[in-house]
């Protein structure tokens, strides 16, 4: 037999280990307090950048925010009496994001419907879901390079079409994943009830499932749009930039197009102070649009998911 440690025979009241009424040893208490403080300090540091960025955007961008800034073209440097602004970039952003949504929203929604309603647990579904998740992690600059190779390289021309194509590829996985989440939240009982009433899968899917998931789907689409509106990297060498208003003719889509994000990038690196200030004002407008969309959509989803 091996030597087992002797059992404690001392009475409980004399044993410091078993004295349940004594406070924790100093070391353990200090460790707890120290870790709590550390965790709170680090969490506070995490909130710092958001506040600093927002305060700076308001401080630098607000003084220059006037109506004429939103509706005029960028003025050449040094011309004081010309109205200066970035109206063309706002229009360009809306055009390109709109075009991208036109492609990615239907494709993304239908793909998500397949994943949640038709694919069930088949290996194909798992593969597609996996690829969509991986696609959402592809850096947007690589998506830009892809759009360059597909469109700019073949047409030998930087164009709005190439920019929208890149944005559409960026948006697609966001829309698929969020739509699938929204569809999954619809209770199976509703599908069964609809089938029991004699509806086929098309009717069940479109009239019952999609209808009741519509708020969730919409917030997903809004998030994707907000993300695309702020994308810069894939636009730098696909849509490029232009100092003029976007061409209203359909052919205008095959020429370079300005966007707010590229304007901010160009102006941030500019040596001229007035262009730097314009970059802050453009940031204010862009952040206003993007944050409003994300906050609204996230609040709606949050309420829905907590009420269930």
């Amino acid at each position: 037999m091996t030597n087992s440690p002797p059992l404690s025979v001392s009475p409980l009241e004399n044993d410091p280990v078993n004295d349940l009424s004594s406070p924790l040893p100093m070391k353990r208490r200090l460790f707890s307090i120290g870790m709590t403080t550390l965790a709170f300090v680090l969490a506070a540091i995490a909130l710092l950048p958001l506040g600093a960025v927002l305060v700076e955007i308001l401080k630098q961008g607000l003084p220059n925010l006037r109506w004429e800034v939103l509706v005029s073209l960028p003025a050449p440097i040094g011309m004081e009496d010309v109205s200066n602004g970035f109206g063309n970039a706002i229009v360009g952003t809306f055009i390109m994001v709109g075009l991208a949504a036109l492609f990615s929203v239907p494709v993304g929604m239908l793909a998500a419907i397949f994943l949640s309603e038709f694919g069930q647990k088949a290996a194909v579904t798992e593969t597609i879901r996996f690829i969509v998740t991986v696609l959402s992690g592809v850096p947007s600059i690589v998506v830009g390079v892809f759009a360059y190779g597909v469109i700019v390289f073949t047409t030998k021309q930087f164009s709005a079409i190439a920019g929208s194509f890149a944005l559409a590829v960026v948006m697609l996985p966001i829309i698929v994943l969020s739509t699938e989440e929204a569809l999954k939240l619809v209770p199976t009982n509703q599908r069964l009830a609809s089938s029991a009433l004699g509806a086929n899968r098309l009717q069940t899917t479109l009239r019952v499932v999609v209808t009741s998931a519509l708020p969730g789907i919409t917030t997903g689409i809004l998030l994707a749009i907000a993300r695309a509106a702020g994308e810069t990297a894939p636009l730098l060498f696909t849509a490029l930039f232009s100092q003029n208003w976007p061409d209203p003719l359909p052919g205008g889509l095959f020429s370079p197009m300005p966007s707010m994000s590229v304007l901010i990038y160009n102006y941030a690196n500019s040596p001229f102070v007035e262009q730097n200030q314009m970059a802050w004002t453009a940031s204010l407008v862009l952040v206003g649009l993007v944050l409003l969309t994300s906050i609204l959509s996230r609040l709606v989803t949050r309420q829905r998911s907590t009420s269930r």
């Binding site: 353990r28 597609i128 009717q203 994308e231």
Partner: protein, 326 residues
């Protein structure tokens, strides 16, 4: 309002439950194929992307071979291209970013998932941290140029003056460089790190907490010995996913890294990353070999992020199945 006679019922084909000739059925079949088609569309895009980037990079792959990876030369005029400075810059900035973002992200996850604070304070904090992800990268970069770099400059100067004997701080800082780029990256990947770790920690069953508490462990002993080990694969997955984001982040890094094609061990020196080089040179690349070299870099970045993301997804999905189901 009168009920149909049995004869009426016989005549209405819509009540024939065995019918397969209804036009609704055709629509149904067509719709099934339509959604299947669009689902395969996503796979097609992924394959297409791989093919296009590989194809465009092919001239450069033929010209420089695998040696491209460790060649340091980048001379557009002489058409000599090497990837090492950019690979180094990408990995160095991502490492700095992870070193900062992992402890902070975990703290946020702990503070917002454990019961330190009442629930009505917890979720707004988590929400605010996630909001950073919604701010466009180019705007974080603008803030980096005009706020973060001037703020970091005295700190980095002090680091150089007092710790200059360490090679990492051996050069005089002048503003843009690896360190500011790493800090910016840390800010940008923090939401990913915090949100996913939080989800993982919330999924740790409450019984484990109670059991640990019943054995006499304090809150932090429970966290270190029970909760973090239970959520380990998930938090590692979160860190890997954050790494994937950091490797590909472009605008903010491009604006503060200094864009120098030289390798320097000092964190205070300007550098370059693969995305920042692509952002800087792609629009002006004219020569086929230059475009090819940039495409080759994009391919390296693509493969790198693909591998990292696949590992991350697998880690979060498969290594913690017991947490996922509960």
């Amino acid at each position: 309002m009168t009920a149909g006679t049995p004869e009426d019922l016989q005549n209405t084909s819509s009540l024939d439950l065995t019918s397969t000739e209804d036009e609704g059925l055709w629509l149904d079949v067509a719709f099934t194929w339509l959604v299947r088609l669009f689902a395969f569309c996503t796979i097609a895009i992924m394959v297409w992307m791989t093919v296009v980037i590989f194809q465009q990079a092919f001239p450069a792959i033929q010209e420089f071979g695998i040696g491209f990876l460790w060649s340091q030369e980048w001379d557009v005029g002489a058409l000599l291209f090497g990837a090492l400075p950019y690979i180094y810059g990408t990995l160095a900035t991502s490492t700095i970013a992870l070193l900062i973002a992992i402890p902070i992200g975990l703290s946020v996850a702990l503070v917002t998932s454990e019961n330190f604070l009442p629930p009505w304070v917890r979720s707004p904090i988590a929400f605010l941290v996630e909001l950073i992800a919604a701010i466009p990268s180019v705007i974080i970069g603008l803030w980096g140029i005009f706020v973060l770099i001037p703020f970091l400059l005295p700190i980095t100067l002090w680091l150089h003056n007092t710790l200059g004997w360490i090679p990492l701080f051996s050069t005089e800082p002048f503003g843009p460089g690896l360190l500011p780029a790493g800090v910016i990256l840390a800010i940008m990947i923090l939401p990913t790190m915090a949100a996913i770790s939080r989800e993982v920690l919330i999924a740790v069953p409450g019984e484990l907490r109670s059991a640990s508490g019943a054995l006499g462990a304090t809150r932090w002993e429970t966290i270190f010995r029970v909760i973090l080990p239970a959520g380990l694969s998930g938090t590692l997955g979160a860190a890997t996913l954050a790494l994937g984001r950091a490797l590909g982040e472009t605008m903010a890094v491009t604006m503060v890294i200094g864009n120098s094609p030289l390798i320097s061990i000092s964190l205070l020196d300007p550098a370059s990353s693969i995305p920042s080089l692509l952002a800087n040179q792609f629009a002006e690349a004219l020569d086929d070999l230059h475009i090819g070299a940039l495409m080759y870099l994009a391919l390296i970045l693509f493969v790198l992020t693909l591998v990292v993301n696949i590992i991350a997804v697998l880690m979060v999905r498969f290594l913690s199945p017991n947490l996922r189901e509960s």
